[in-house]
């Protein structure tokens, strides 16, 4: 199965990730190769087989819902490049 230029553009939109014009052809070729390769999976029957999500087939361990973290905002926000009054700055979303 081949992946075309329009699909690459759509995947770029879905994943919110710019793809340089010069990169498209290379991505097109390589992604087609990858999808062709994983198409091998269609050769085997998996009727009545349960999908496996956890290697040990374990269920999630739960804990009592209580606050365990203290407010460490200042420290955590040291990694943000633009903050103001403890808030993260992003481009304007609502007019």
């Amino acid at each position: 199965m081949s992946i075309n230029k329009d699909e690459i553009k759509y995947l770029s939109l879905l994943s919110r990730m710019d793809i340089d014009k010069n990169e498209i052809k290379d991505i097109e070729e390589k992604l087609t190769k990858i999808i062709d390769f994983v198409d091998q999976l269609q050769t085997i029957s998996t009727d009545n087989i349960a999908p496996m999500a956890h290697p040990l087939n374990q269920s999630q361990r739960l804990r009592i819902d209580e606050v365990t973290e203290t407010n460490d905002r200042e420290n955590i926000q040291k990694n943000a490049q633009q903050i103001e009054k403890g808030m993260y700055l992003v481009p304007k979303v609502i007019d």
Partner: protein
């Protein structure tokens, strides 16, 4: 004790020298730091050095030892793959996206090893976000294989493997999603173990594919790996997938004889892709284990041939989801030129991620997208179940499954970068253990064209003890693990 020998000593030997006060932690630390300074320009195994902090901690360790207050690993030199969060120390995950990320907390593994007393010398190079099998996708440059610097050390934990092989540090952490500890261990002639899924906490390990990722360790002997894993493993409240299974005393179990052990040889491993010389080494390693009384049985893993395509669907899907967190807002790279929020995200991610990471995110997005989910993602999860079941069936007959770690020895840098499938097939023998969550170790078992290759042993869930036991007994009878690259003797 002459300082000229420090770099060749194992952790167990260094620990003895420290406790007997033949060496100080400061001497060890300074010797290795100066060695890294002399050699790492050519290897490029470290992204960040933490020299000043290391010397300070070594001096504190020496005080503790003098007062008899030492813990299990006090004063021993160590390095962490740059995927483990280290409080106050740059953690890049090999990516431009995290070129400025200074974690406000330590990964549980880092914290546990720090509490046990190790001295961190620095953070090691790796494929970007652990996606790669050659260390060439790192934003911080490729790493040279100490056996021949024109060759790749493997990946994704290539920096840790190369640093241990070049005798720059005796042991280092790694992570293994599809073979990222075992493959570089094999290609650089050292020992590397990926524990059972859930054996080691993933808290503070930057996520790639959460149902496959597992932290482990590189060392120059099974004994050293056992010493470290004992301190790394165990239940962690901060990782709900970490296991409550009791952590055994690995250092004690390595000495158990293997005469009652049943070892499985996989029929399919001999059917395709295995280098002739590599096969000879493997069979000779099996003979060595047999000579100790282990029983060897042929086993069948009928669906193992589908492990690589299964992996590339599951891992890419999980990666596309995990890496959606890099949005430029809270941490990491942030684009400077944008008109609106959409563009802000797209440019930040387009600039921050390298080509291989982008390919995997797009593959993952594709297999999870409407119309393809059932055909790819759900299908792969079902095939994963079949592959895992094959292993479980085999483990009803045997304790350990033996085979090659890689199809061939180290390859040239650049050789496989143009063909993703050829690169992916490097992990053909290692991926099965990740899909099923089984522990697996690679130990050096000989040379092909003067380059090291590894014997892989896969165990039952939480069967790390039999892997160490087998590996250690093998290392008592062979000296492959003691071979040192000429340039780094």
């Amino acid at each position: 004790m002459p300082n000229s020998q420090i770099h060749n000593m194992t952790l167990v030997e260094l620990k003895k020298a420290l406790n007997e006060k033949n060496l100080s932690s400061r001497e060890i630390t300074e010797t290795l730091l100066s060695r890294i300074n002399d050699f790492d320009d050519s290897v490029n195994s470290f992204i960040t050095m933490t020299s000043d902090q290391a010397i300070k901690e070594a001096m504190e360790a020496d005080k503790k030892i003098a007062n008899g207050d030492q813990t299990n690993l006090t004063g021993l030199p160590f390095a962490h793959k740059d995927l483990f969060c280290t409080k106050g120390t740059l953690t890049t995950c090999g990516s431009k996206m995290l070129h400025n990320f200074i974690p406000p907390y330590d990964a549980t593994v880092v914290k546990k090893l720090k509490n046990a007393g190790v001295i961190m010398l620095g953070k090691t190079n790796m494929d970007e976000f652990a996606m790669g099998s050659s260390n060439e996708t790192s934003y911080y440059g490729s790493v040279g294989n100490p056996w021949d610097l024109k060759l790749s050390p493997g990946g994704s934990s290539g920096g840790s493997a190369a640093a241990v092989a070049a005798r720059l540090v005796p042991a280092a952490t790694g992570t293994d999603t599809g073979g990222s500890i075992r493959q570089p261990a094999a290609l650089t002639g050292i020992t590397g173990i990926k524990p059972t899924y859930g054996r080691v906490s993933r808290y503070g390990m930057i996520a790639f594919a959460s149902s496959l990722d597992q932290g482990g360790v590189f060392a120059r002997s099974c004994e050293d790996a056992a010493l470290i894993l004992g301190e790394m493993a165990g239940l962690d409240e901060l990782d709900s997938t970490s296991s409550a299974e009791k952590v055994p005393n690995y250092l004690e179990s390595i000495n158990h004889p293997i005469k009652d052990l049943k070892i499985g040889l996989v029929k399919q491993h001999f059917e395709e892709g295995l280098d002739e010389e590599n096969k000879k080494n493997l069979l000779s390693a099996i003979d060595t284990l047999k000579s100790q009384g282990a029983e060897v049985i042929e086993i069948d893993l009928p669906n193992i041939g589908l492990s690589v395509p299964t992996y590339y669907v599951v891992a890419s899907a999980e990666c596309s989801s995990n890496l959606s967190r890099y949005d430029g807002v809270r941490f990491g790279h942030r684009t400077e030129n944008y008109e609106n929020l959409e563009e802000f995200y797209s440019k930040t991610r387009g600039e921050g991620f390298g080509a291989e990471v982008k390919r995997r995110i797009m593959t993952g997005t594709y297999v999870l997208s409407a119309g393809y989910y059932d055909a790819y993602y759900l299908k792969a999860q079902k095939v994963r179940q079949l592959i895992s079941q094959d292993f479980k069936n085999a483990f009803e007959k045997v304790d350990v499954i033996a085979g090659p770690t890689t199809p061939s020895p180290a390859f040239e840098l650049g050789a496989k970068m143009d063909d993703p499938i050829e690169m992916y097939l490097n992990d053909i023998f290692t991926i099965g253990a990740n899909l099923g969550g089984f522990p697996a170790i690679s130990v050096p078992c000989g040379f092909v064209n003067d380059l090291p290759v590894g014997l892989q042993l896969v165990g039952k869930h939480f069967g790390e003890e039999s892997l160490f036991q087998c590996g250690h007994q093998f290392q008592q009878l062979t000296d492959w693990h003691k071979q040192t690259p000429e340039q780094f003797k």
